[in-house]
Amino acid sequence: MDFDVIIGFETHVELKTDSKLFCDCPVDYDALPNTLICPVCTGQPGALPVLNKKAVEYTVRAGLALKCTVNRLSRFARKNYFYPDLPKGYQISQYDKPFCEEGRLEITSGDGQPYAVGIKRVHLEEDAGKLVHSSDSFEASEFSLVDYNRSCVPLLEIVTDHEKNPLRSTLEARAYLEKLRQTLRYIEVSDCNMEKGQLRCDVNISLRPKGSKAYGNRSEIKNMASFKAIGEALEYEIARQRGIIEGGGEIFQETRLFDEAKHLTLPMRSKEDAPDYRYFPDPDLLEIELPDDFVDNIRRSMPELPDQSVDRLVGQYNLPKEDALLLTRDKRVAGYFSACALFVQDRQRLSRWIIKDLFRLLKKSSLSIAQCPVPPEGFSELVNAVTRDEITEKMGRQVLEEMFERGVSAGSVIAEKDLKPIRDLKTLERLVDEVIAENLQVTAKIREGSTKPMDYLIGQVMKKTRGKANPKELAKLIQEKLLG
């Protein structure tokens, strides 16, 4: 049987506002436990939430970047459930009137074609605290402690559409999540650091026979925080459901957990056990009316989006699209490139140097572009030196490494190592003569018409110059000497 796979994402992203969603406490992931708390975010009796305007701005910015409709009227709702990390016994979230609805995010689909993934809604809610267990799991622990630093941190929830352009494969799911993360980083609303839990996903999967219009029951896998886990869980779940349906069985709607160690999903609770969250409008917060000029201002000041960045690099600098895609994957790299492009004429060479050489060095030392010890001006100087044949490509790489390791300029490395190419004809001729004298057998072969040993001779001269001569020039010289 052939199946259509339908995948849905509920992605939670922590916004990088200075303060929390409903109180003035700072947001800082590295602070000591329970040092960034107050009556509001610990749910003290009588404390009341007051909405952080910046978080609304970020939400609207995200909504606009995802081509959503921004609702004029929206409100917060309480999601009621008990859990030790939830200080008030309810989470302030959004239910029937989210800030943004009905958008799309363009990805490159499995067949290489563009595909606009449907976005159902983008809403704002508060994060819960963090449980720290005395043992590996909640169940096995003698005691657990709660850190409320994270409590009330603004959380963006982005939900994909099930009906309008849903995700149809693990490949698309991955492309979607990458593009979403890239977009949110571009618009600077979140760092989306998955290791720090700043981006987490609930993923749901259902299968239906190809061509069928009805939806199959779906299983939901909760709280995943790495691409690897999401990919594995999806593959496992698709295979599991396929196996059951092909075996004549039935899929039940349920929530499952992904066991990363065993690479499989396990049932957590069935539809019947699904909690009733008793959503209702939060009476502590009034309905929010977003004035037109508030939304317009956000629209006007919208940072460049990834697709626009690619178009700009292709259009303005004449780069191949593949290069542009690589350079724009991280906004800061695109920024680095643009900064260099102010000083460098040969943009294609610049792009190659960043993609091949700078990326290699960054990767080797596990640095991000923001931590790159070579500033754009210095990098430009190096690329220009190569372009002007002041140094060879190979030397350039050595120089870059020195610059990278010691944080010095290209010029000073070149001077210090005496890397300036030998341009003086007399010196070169003297060296060529020496090499010819030392390799009489080889030169004889060349005189007989063989071209092969040419490279060997050039290599020998290069050795004497410690790589500082231009090989093309040397070839010309040797030929003149041997063949007249």
Binding site: P39, T42, G43, Q44, P45, G46, A47, L48, P49, V50, L51, R78, N80, F82, P84, P87, K88, G89, Y90, E139, V146, D276, R278, Y279, F280, P283, D284, L285, L286
Partner: protein
């Protein structure tokens, strides 16, 4: 007359003239407590040491002509639902028996900044759920006028304290009538201002869209004085209004002449104690003698007010009280538990009282999937109709006069086993919480020694007219 039996306004004048000291007044209040608290039980926590210290500070300010406000040096009590930094705040519940807030409620902060002397935290129905102050983990408060009877609730401790001279003025809270009813039962004055007039920050939530801080005093003037001090926008409460606080004291003397006062006919029907009706009508005649025009009006959705109130209040309460789970603060069961669910269940079963649990269960049901539309949503729709009734009626009148309660103070234990009977006590007061309008309760005479209360209802943010009518009536009575 003892100092503790005088009004805040009188005492303020005496303090200003340095004829008495705050210490003398405060000592008089504590002497009264020593005499009567055993019987009345108006307080959960008394703060004698702190009070004397605050009184001495106030006296020093008076000596240096640096008094902070007319309330400087006046003994006040706070309902134990208002958070006081460093002083336990119990909400009348075992759950919060040992809870010490890390912060002051905004209303508390304003009163203390005005120089008032905090004498204690008053008794109340647990989490403000009740109409008699019998639902307290610290025992019932008794009516100072007749200790066999209830003081009304839920701010019964505040009302009894003021009535008995155990405080000069007090803060309370009103979700369905919780200031106006005990004020009426104890024969004093109390006002629930418009929703949003006073910050709710630090007022422990029962039903957020209905809760409002208010004041209780022996006279209308005292209420006006205190109201002026606690009102005003607070950026810590998103529902607090951006309205300027008028000079309430100045509005008192504007007289009654020419005012149009409505009598909603639905408030004078069967179920109302005939004696109370008689007293109200007598008061109405007196107002008429003073130049007021009386207009019969209609608030047709009145019969639905109590049901609507209990649906919305319990729904919000079920969520607001979820934080009392034994995890972070307050009571936690000492029994052996095998998991967190069991810890929640035992903690909440033991830590919360019967009426509170009843309302949490009702509210949980009201919000449940499949019932939400039929109950909560419907109740919100009726709430809008009740509000529209008032809007329409207020096109014709400046304020309204009604009874506060359908009955006189009842005996302790009389209604405690009959929750529905108890709920009906709020029949004339709950509509104002649903519509957010200001309402004041003042005494309009006694029946066999028991006080009858008259409610004056005003337009939104027009406490001035409410106070003006109340003051005009009070003056004409004493003339």
């Amino acid at each position: 007359m003892e100092l503790c039996d005088r009004t805040a306004s009188e005492l303020a004048r005496l303090l200003q003239k340095r004829e008495v000291s705050s210490r003398e007044i405060t000592e008089s209040v504590f002497r009264r407590m020593d005499e009567r608290e055993e019987k009345i039980n108006a307080y959960i926590t008394r703060t004698r040491e702190l009070a004397l210290k605050l009184a001495d500070q106030a006296d020093r300010r008076y000596r240096h002509n640096e008094s902070l406000s007319p309330l400087d040096g006046i003994p006040v009590a706070f309902k134990d639902i208002l958070c006081t930094k460093g002083i336990r705040t119990t909400c009348g519940s075992l759950m919060l028996r040992d809870y010490i807030p890390p912060y002051d409620a905004t209303a508390v902060e304003k009163v203390l900044k005005a120089g008032a002397v905090l004498v204690g935290k008053t008794n109340m129905d647990e989490f403000a759920m009740g109409s008699s102050t019998e639902n307290s983990a610290f025992g019932p408060t008794r009516n100072p006028l007749d200790p066999e009877r209830v003081a009304g609730g839920s701010s019964g401790g505040s009302a009894a304290a003021v009535a008995a001279g155990e405080a000069i003025v007090a803060l309370g809270s009103d979700t369905g009538g919780s200031i106006r009813l005990p004020a009426a039962f104890c024969g004093i004055a109390g006002i629930k201002p418009t929703y949003g007039r006073i910050s709710r920050y630090g007022l422990v939530s029962y039903a957020s869209s209905l809760d409002q801080v208010g004041v209780l005093g022996k006279s209308v003037e005292d209420c006006a004085l205190m109201l002026g001090i606690v009102s005003g926008h607070d950026k810590k409460d998103a529902t607090s209004a951006h309205t300027k606080t008028p000079d309430f004291l100045r509005s008192l003397n504007k007289g009654l002449k020419g005012l149009r006062i409505g009598l909603p006919k639905e408030y004078f029907v069967e179920g109302l104690d005939p004696g109370i009706k008689e007293r109200i009508m007598a008061a109405v005649s007196l107002l008429e003698d003073n130049g007021v025009h009386i207009v019969e009006i209609s608030l047709p959705h009145t019969p639905y007010a109590v049901a609507t109130y209990y649906l919305i209040a319990t729904a919000e309460a079920s969520s607001n009280l979820a934080r009392y789970d034994g995890v972070k603060f307050g009571f936690r069961t000492r029994e052996n538990v095998t998991d967190s669910i069991m810890m929640y269940e035992l903690t909440r079963s033991r830590g919360l009282g019967k009426e509170v649990k009843r309302r949490i269960m009702l509210g949980t049901y009201v919000l449940s999937a499949g019932y939400y539309d039929a109950y909560y949503l419907k109740a919100q729709q009726v709430r809008a109709l009740i509000k529209a009734d008032f809007d329409k009626a207020f096109e014709e009148v400046d304020c309204m006069v009604t009874p506060v309660s359908p009955c006189l103070p009842f005996r302790i234990g009389e209604k405690i086993t009959e929750p529905l009977q108890m709920y009906l006590v709020d029949i004339y007061t709950a509509s104002l919480n649903l519509s957010g309008l200001p309402g004041m309760s003042i005494n309009c005479g006694t029946i066999k020694g028991l006080p009858a209360g008259m409610q004056i209802i005003g337009k939104a943010f027009d406490e001035e007219t409410v106070l003006r009518v109340a003051y005009g009536y009070e003056k004409s009575i004493y003339r």
